[in-house]
């Protein structure tokens, strides 16, 4: 995996510079893997090509929902790490070698409310990534608005359908600014 070879000692370079280099390599390798897989899997390739190999962090406290959403994302070719609490999510980010491109976040978790988690992710990583997709059972307008305010990239209604997830992933990856 290309990520492991790229970590540059922070003694020799400015931290921001080394992070940028790390990201460039990761995105290049991700794009390469995407292009490679585009050629190999016929029927699905156009639709799912952007999500193939994508590293996703899934945060949902409900075991059943977690299992179903994880399988759905894997079906779309993603490499999924699933955690059940907001705390686990934030600690996953503190490990620099974890390079999640997308976070799929259930908004209604008990001990640390989903909005709080998203806000902290955005504070922790102030650039345009990771992309955040919120999952909510709520149909209220203000939930959508609040998600946008916090800097989330998409909101999906639960229960989530495969096509809806695929479409949102495509959309936000397409719009994501390159680094």
């Amino acid at each position: 995996m290309i990520q492991e070879n790229v970590w540059i000692s922070t003694n020799s370079l400015d931290f921001a510079q080394s992070m940028t280099l790390l990201l460039r390599f990761q995105i290049q390798s991700y794009i390469q893997r995407t292009m490679y897989s585009h050629g190999t899997s016929g029927e699905q390739s156009n639709y799912y090509s952007r999500s193939r190999g994508l590293r996703v962090l899934l945060v949902d406290d409900d075991e059943i929902n977690r299992m179903v959403t994880k399988k759905m994302l894997e079906k779309l070719g993603c490499e999924v790490t699933a955690v059940s609490t907001g705390f686990e999510c934030l600690s996953a980010f503190s490990h620099a070698e974890n390079s999640f491109r997308v976070v799929v976040l259930d908004l209604h978790m008990p001990e640390i409310y989903g909005f709080e988690v998203a806000t902290r992710i955005r504070k922790f990583r102030s650039c345009n990534w990771p992309l955040i997709i919120a999952l909510t059972a709520s149909t209220e307008d203000n939930v959508q608005k609040r998600c946008v305010q916090i800097g989330m990239n998409a909101v999906l209604q639960k229960p989530v359908l495969l096509q809806a997830m695929a479409a949102e992933l495509q959309r936000i990856l397409h719009r994501a600014k390159p680094l």
Binding site: D62, V68, K158, P159, L162
Partner: protein
């Protein structure tokens, strides 16, 4: 019953579950997610749902027996039940949860108790039906056949 009859029976049975709203499209989504990498995905998720549901029903009964009822707690359990039933497509169970939550909001004990009964009833119905369906599928597989879509 020969293989063809078994397969026919399964197709009809499944159709009736959808027709009678026991299951909705979310359940067929689960079936779509099943593949060679995870050939027992549906059974695994549904089994987990059964375990989780039984735990929640016990918690609900306990919470409603308390001298002073913590409606927030009751609502949290029902909310969870609503979420998991909706994830697997158990539509009637999900609907029963929605009604239940309304009574929680009103802090209506009698209403909650009635809803709990209703919820138990719907859950046990869908459980029985899903188990029958899985049994049919097993019979087909044991007879060397494949599960029709």
């Amino acid at each position: 019953m020969d293989l063809f009859q078994l397969q026919r029976r399964l197709v009809d049975y499944r159709a009736s579950l959808y027709h009678e709203d026991f299951l909705d499209e979310q359940f067929s989504q689960l079936q779509d997610l099943q593949d060679e990498n995870n050939p027992d995905f549906v059974v695994e998720v549904v089994t987990l749902f059964f375990e989780d549901s039984e735990r929640l029903l016990n918690e609900l009964a306990k919470a409603l027996e308390q001298p002073i009822i913590d409606f927030k707690r009751v609502d949290a359990h029902v909310h969870q039940f609503k979420g998991s039933s909706s994830s697997i497509g158990a539509q009637r169970v999900q609907k029963a949860c929605i009604a239940f939550r309304n009574y929680c909001e009103e802090q209506n004990v009698e209403g909650c108790l009635k809803c709990l009964q209703q919820l138990r009833h719907e859950y046990s119905l869908v459980k029985t039906k899903l188990e029958s369906m899985f049994q049919l599928e097993q019979q087909i597989l044991s007879a060397g056949g494949s599960i029709p879509m």
